[in-house]
Amino acid sequence: MMRFLFWNIKKNSAVNEILRELARHHGIDLLAIAECPHEGQLLAAVNDVSEPLFHLTDSKRTRVSIYTAFPSEYLTSEYHDNTLTIRRLALPGKVEIVFAAAHLPSKKYRPTPADRHLIAQRVSEEIKRVEDRLGHSRTVLVGDMNMDPFEEAVVSAAGLHSAMTRGIARKGSREVFGKPYPFFYNPMWGRFGDTTSGPAGTYYWTGSRSVEYFWHTFDQVLVRPELLDSFQAESLRILEGCGNMSFLRESSIPDAGRVSDHLPVMFDLDI
């Protein structure tokens, strides 16, 4: 069993100490951190007291820093650009998987749906290229997509092509205009609103437009059908605190000033 945690920490070094507690409390094996302002300080913080020691892995230019509780030689880079890193995770005695982490551009700067679709399509194509090269699609994609699970770029065949149920995703792929497109399963569909366990989303934002969702689920975990049997759906959690420390304000929205405007997402893979 391996435990993964993704978090956009909004360049807040104060979160370093929280990450140390999270890693120790939950027994995290892999930390993927977006908007990490200082990789060395975070490494020093998470390794300050706890065992095992984390290793900082080489993220090249990608804006996601990855720390592992196992030697970094087992997580090798297969592709990277500034928004996406795709790694081969091959631990001794465990099933090899593809671990991809992304931090896609904010809507504030890439406003059009066409732009977002183009970015999602590129992510999808690069992942497929790596899968073809490695000969399997045991892939998990995590990250701050800056899009909700229901947006076209996340759902469409040429985009991330993520389905809301395992039953649909298990079909493997879907043919559109004569070309097959592989599915992802997107379990974040099951984490919307206040009738599910945990917060209503991973990010809160409100404006003065006529349509406001308030809560967004930008931070997502997408799983390929070939890895579904290893994915522990009940383990997927949006964390709202650690010990006595809450990541939320009194109004129950993410505390952007003290912690981050995003909430961390944690899940297990039985590999």
Partner: protein, 172 residues
């Protein structure tokens, strides 16, 4: 009818019971450094065939009688600073005959640059030698405790704690 293949190898094939290989010792020490620095500074060992010495006045490569088999193995211990864009510093090299564990020739990375061909043939004055495991460990202890090694490690550690990630792209 299938014929059983006879195993001609002796029953007692094993590594020398009382000697740790230089590469094993180097990897152990590499792991120790990570623990000591909480992985702010790590060390890795890379092994490669060592080019045989070249005769000074010609292009004839000196080889053992078996021809083109590598004569020696060279293990290089690199310091790696992950938070400094994975900067690598070659701390030391240890080489020995490919089919023997000892003697080992060791040279610290900070001692000098690559020796000239003539120095290589003659044996450079900065090269140390260890004829067994205990001597090899003693040489390593000496290099690790050297003021220059401590200065380099201290410098990399200090920078690892200060180096900020690249300026974040505002579009994220």
């Amino acid at each position: 009818m299938a014929t059983a293949v006879e195993d001609l190898w002796p029953a007692d094939i094993e590594s020398p019971p009382d000697q740790l290989a230089p590469i094993t010792i180097l990897k152990q020490q590499a792991a120790m450094l990570g623990r000591r620095t909480r992985n702010l500074l790590e060390a890795v060992v890379r092994t490669e065939d060592e080019d045989p010495p070249v005769a000074p006045l010609g292009d004839t490569t000196v080889r053992l009688p078996l021809g083109d088999q590598p004569v020696r193995l060279r293990h290089t211990l690199f310091l790696v600073a992950p938070a400094l864009n994975f900067y690598r510093y070659r701390l030391l090299e240890a080489s020995h005959a490919a089919v023997s564990l000892y003697p080992v020739t060791i040279r610290a990375g900070w001692e000098r640059h690559l020796p000239t061909v003539v120095e290589q043939m003659a044996g450079t004055p900065h090269t140390r030698s260890a004829s067994n495991e205990a001597e090899f460990k003693e040489v390593l202890r000496d290099i690790f405790a050297h003021e220059e090694t401590k200065r380099i490690i201290g410098s990399l550690l200090a920078q690892s704690g200060e180096q900020h990630s690249q300026i974040l792209d505002p579009s994220f």
